[in-house]
Amino acid sequence: MKKFDKERVLLAVAGPVIALVAAILLTSVVLIASGKSPIEPYTLMLEQAGYSDVQVLIVNQASMYYVAALAVAIGFRMNLFNIGVDGQYRLAAMMTAVVGANIALPSFLQIPLLLLVGVLTGAFWAGIAGVLKVTRGVSEVVATIMLNAIATSLIGYLTLDNIWGVQVGNNNTTGIMKDSGWVPGIDLGADVGEIYGLVFLAIALGIVYWVVLNRTRFGFDLRATGESETAAAASGVDAKKMVLTAMLISGGIAGLSGLPLLLGDAHTYSLSFPTGLGFTGITIALLGRNNPVGIAFAALLIAFLDKASPALDYATPVAYEKEIATIMQGLIVFAVVISYEAVRQWGLRRQQKRVGAELAAAAQNTKKEVTV
C-alpha cells in the first residue's frame, strides 16, 4: 500500500504549505494596502536568519515554543483544549525559581529537582481544570482561561518581597537561583551567544511524545478518545481517567516549557519573564498538526518571525513595523485552521473514491478471469 503512504505524506504537507502561502499573500495585501513594498520585509527578515547570533536566538526561542506546543498538542490529540498552558508555564517557572533560589543541592540532584518542581506545578495547575471537568463537567477551555488569570494574580502575590520575592530596583523577582541549578549551554563564542542546554530536553520530549502516542497502549487509548469518545468508551477506555491523565501530562509538559530560559539564562523569575508562550504554543501545535516533527518546524518558523522581525524597525532606507510579523502569525492561525479542514475532507473523499475504484477494478478482473 505504498500509494496510500505517499498520499498521506502529500496530504500532511499540503495543509501547512497552503496555509503558509495564503498567510504570506494576505500579509502582502496588508503591506500593499499600507503603501509599502510587499516583498522587501521578507528579504530583510530572511537576511537576518543568516546571522549566527540570530540563529542562536531562534533556536533558543524555538526550544521553549516547542515544549509549550507539545503540551498543547497532547491535549489536542484527545480533543482537550488546554488554553491554560500559559498560566501553567508561568506559575511553574516561578515556583522553580523560588525553589532554585532557596535550596542548594549538588547539580546532579538540583537540576532534576528543579525539573520535577516545574512538572509538578504545571500538572497541579492543569489538574485543577481536569478535576473540574471530570467531576463537575466544567469545560476545560473556560477553566484554564480563568486559571491563567488566577496564575497572574497568584504570581504577583507570591513575588511580593514579604512573601517569596526579592525586590530588585522596581522589579519583583524571586532572587537569583543557586548556581548548582544552572544548566550550562553550548557556548558558540562571545558575539554569537549560547544555546540553552535544555534545548536537548525539548528534543527528548519530542521523541518521548511520539513514542508514547504511537507505540504504547496508553497512547492508543488517548488517540482513540480523541478520534471518537464513544468508540473509546465502548473499547474500554475510562474517559474520566483519560481526561484527568491527559490534563496532568499536558500541564506537566507546560511546566517544563519555561525552564530552558530560566535554568539556562535568566536564573530568576521576574516581571520581565516572557508571557504569552502558551498562546503561541497553540498556534504552533496547530501549524505542526500535533506531529512532533511538524511542531519542530512550526516552532522554528514562529521563532524566526519573532527574532528576525525587530530588524525591520531599523531597516534603511525605509523602516517597516515589526508588527508585520505579528500580523503574519495571526493570519497563519486562520489559514491553518481553514486549510487543514479543507485538506482533511478532500483527502477523505479522495480516498473513498480510490478505494471504490480499486475495488471495482478488482471486481472487473475477477469477472474477466471467470469468463476466460
Binding site: 487509548d221 478520534e227 471518537s228 464513544t230 468508540a231 465502548a234 474500554g236
Partner: protein, 524 residues
C-alpha cells in the same frame, strides 16, 4: 413505486445522494420529467420536486410537528396558521394522520417517519426517496407505511424505495432495479419474480437463511443477570455532558422514556440467564431499554441496582476493559459511533477494544506488526473488501466495516458476545457470513445476546426469545413456532407472558413469566 435493491457497497446510497444533490456525478445525466438537470445541492433537488426521507430521522425532539415541518422552509407558507392548514391538508389527503401540535418527542417511531414524509411533501416533492424506511418498524407499522405509500402513488407521486428486505420490495414495488458493484445488473417486475431470484441477482449466489440447526444449548450458565435496573440518563446525572441519551443515537426514543418529570427507569428489574452455546434474542422496538441493557452488560454505564454475573463471577463493578479482557465480545449497535475510529487505518481499528490483548500489545507496548498481520488475516478470512489495511475505516462500505468488526470480536474467542444489530445495513452475502460465524462460535460454546430489529434474523438465529417493552422483559417465545407478526404485536406491548403460536390449542403458561428469571432458562 420503484424499488432499488443491492448489496452493501453496491452504490445505492451513492446513487441516492447524487439524485438528491448531495454528491455530484462524474459522468452521466439525470433527467426529471424528460428535462436534463444538474443538482449542486439538496436545495436544487427539492426545487425540482425530489425529496428524501433519511433512514435516521432528522427531527428536533423538543419542537412540535408543525415547527419541525416548517423549519428551514418558513418562506413557503409562513410559520403560523397557513402552514398548519397546509399540513392538515397534506395529512388528510394522504391519510398520514399527523397532528401538527404534538411534540415530536412524544411520538413513536412510525409517527416520526410520517412526519418526515410530510416534511418532504410540504416542500412540494413529487418524487420521494425513502432510504430503508422499514428497518426500524415492526410488521404492523410496515403495513401501515405501505398503505400510506400506496396512497401517495394513487395521487400521482413517485416513490423510490430502498430496502434490504426482499419480501417487502416484492409486495410493494411496481418495478425493481437491482444494482451490484456500481452498475445496474437487472430490473424485475415483482409479479414475475421470487425473492430467491432477486437475491441471486443481487449477490450472484444463493439466498442465505438464518436458520439454526440442532440446538447447542448447554446447562452451563455464562451470563446471569438478576434484577437489573438502570435509571434513564438525564435524571440522576445532571451536568454530565458526554452522556448521550439512549435514543439520541438513532433519533428515536419511545414516548414512555421521554415522558414524565421523575426519574425514569430505562431498565426495570430485568433478569435472565444465557448458557454456553445459547443465543438469546431480544425483540423490541428501539428505545425500549436495549441500549441501556447493552451499556450495563459492557460496562459503559453501570447498573443502578441488580447484579451481572459472568461465568459465576460477579462482574457488576468491573470496568469495560476488564470485561472485554475476560471474554465479553461486543458488536455495537452503532458501528460509526462505537465500533470504529473512522479516520484511522483498518489495522488501528483492529486494535480498538483489544488494545491490551495479543496480538495487539506486548506488555506496555503496542505490537504494530502483530496487529497488522492479524488485520490482514481478518480481511482475508472475513472477506472484507478493501485494497489494503492502511486505508481509513471511513472509506469502506457499511457491510465491510461490519465484517471487520465481527472479525475483530471473534478473533479474541469471546465466551459471551453482545451482538446488537449484527447485520444492520449489511448486504445479503455478508449477512450470511456473519450468521455463519455466530453459529460456528455458538457450537463451540459461545453465549450470545442478540438484539436485532430484523425479526427474521431474531427468530432464525435465536434459541430463546424475549421481548423487551418499556424497560422490562414482558414476554418470551419459542423461536421454533413464533411468527414475525406475533412477535411484532408483543413488541408494541399488546401481548405479554409466554407467546404461543395461535395454531396451538391452549395458551398454557401465560402467567409463568411473572417469575423474573423466566421459565425456559430455569428449565434448562
Amino acid at each position: 413505486m420503484h424499488a432499488l435493491v443491492g448489496e452493501n457497497g453496491a452504490g445505492k446510497s451513492t446513487l441516492m445522494k447524487i439524485l438528491y444533490g448531495m454528491q455530484k456525478p462524474d459522468e452521466g445525466t439525470i433527467a426529471v420529467d424528460g428535462e436534463q438537470v444538474t443538482f449542486s445541492s439538496p436545495a436544487d433537488a427539492i426545487a425540482r420536486g425530489i425529496g428524501m426521507v433519511h433512514q435516521h430521522f432528522m427531527l428536533a425532539d423538543n419542537l412540535t410537528v408543525l415547527e419541525n415541518v416548517v423549519l428551514g422552509s418558513e418562506k413557503l407558507y409562513g410559520i403560523g396558521g397557513n402552514a398548519r392548514k397546509k399540513i392538515k391538508e397534506i395529512s388528510d389527503r394522504y391519510g398520514l394522520g399527523v397532528r401538527p401540535d404534538a411534540l415530536v418527542e412524544d411520538l413513536g417511531v412510525a409517527d416520526r417517519q410520517r412526519v418526515e414524509i410530510l416534511k418532504v411533501l410540504f416542500r412540494g416533492a413529487k418524487t420521494l426517496i425513502l432510504d430503508e424506511p422499514t428497518a426500524v418498524l415492526v410488521p404492523q407499522e410496515v403495513d401501515a407505511l405501505f398503505d400510506n405509500l400506496r396512497e401517495l402513488k394513487s395521487e400521482g407521486l413517485s416513490v423510490i424505495f430502498i430496502s434490504h428486505k426482499l419480501g417487502e420490495v416484492l409486495s410493494v414495488a411496481d418495478e425493481i432495479t437491482v444494482i451490484r458493484r456500481g452498475t445496474t445488473v437487472g430490473t424485475a417486475v415483482p409479479a414475475e419474480t421470487t425473492p430467491r431470484q432477486l437475491a441471486e441477482m443481487m449477490v450472484g449466489s444463493e439466498l442465505p437463511t438464518p436458520e439454526t440447526a440442532e440446538s447447542t444449548v448447554t446447562d452451563k450458565p455464562v451470563i446471569q443477570v438478576a434484577h437489573l435496573t438502570v435509571y434513564a440518563s438525564g435524571g440522576a446525572s445532571l451536568g454530565v455532558e458526554s452522556e448521550p441519551t439512549a435514543g439520541g443515537v438513532s433519533g428515536m426514543i419511545s414516548p414512555e422514556v421521554a415522558l414524565g418529570g421523575e426519574v425514569k427507569k430505562a431498565l426495570d428489574d430485568v433478569s435472565f440467564t444465557i448458557h454456553a452455546g445459547e443465543v438469546m434474542g431480544i425483540a423490541g422496538v428501539e428505545g425500549n431499554g436495549q441500549t441501556e441493557l447493552i451499556d450495563a452488560l459492557i460496562g459503559t454505564k453501570n447498573a443502578d441496582s441488580g447484579t451481572i454475573a459472568f461465568l459465576g463471577e460477579d462482574i457488576t463493578p468491573w470496568s469495560t476493559r476488564k470485561r472485554r479482557e475476560s471474554g465479553v465480545g461486543y458488536i455495537p449497535e452503532d458501528r460509526h459511533r462505537q465500533g470504529l475510529l473512522l479516520e484511522a487505518p483498518l489495522w488501528e481499528n483492529r486494535i480498538l477494544g483489544h488494545v491490551t490483548e495479543a496480538p495487539n500489545a506486548k506488555g506496555f507496548w503496542l505490537n504494530i506488526k502483530g496487529a497488522q498481520a492479524d488485520t490482514r488475516r481478518i480481511v482475508e478470512e472475513y472477506d472484507v473488501r478493501t485494497p489494503g489495511i492502511d486505508v481509513t475505516a471511513a472509506s469502506l462500505s457499511g457491510g465491510n466495516q461490519q465484517k471487520l468488526i465481527v472479525g475483530r470480536e471473534m478473533s479474541h474467542s469471546p465466551k459471551f458476545l453482545i451482538a446488537a444489530h449484527p447485520t444492520r445495513g449489511v448486504d445479503v452475502g455478508a449477512q450470511a457470513q456473519i450468521w455463519d460465524r455466530i453459529r460456528e462460535a455458538r457450537r463451540a460454546g459461545l453465549a450470545v445476546l442478540l438484539i436485532s430489529a430484523d425479526l427474521d434474523e431474531l427468530i432464525g438465529l435465536s434459541d430463546t426469545l424475549r421481548v423487551i417493552y418499556n424497560g422490562t422483559l414482558v414476554a418470551d417465545a419459542d423461536p421454533a413456532t413464533i411468527t414475525p407478526e406475533e412477535l411484532g404485536s408483543a413488541m408494541t406491548g399488546a401481548a405479554t407472558g409466554h407467546l404461543e403460536h395461535v395454531d396451538e390449542e391452549h395458551v398454557d403458561d401465560a402467567e409463568t413469566t411473572e417469575e423474573a428469571a423466566g421459565p425456559e432458562d430455569e428449565a434448562r
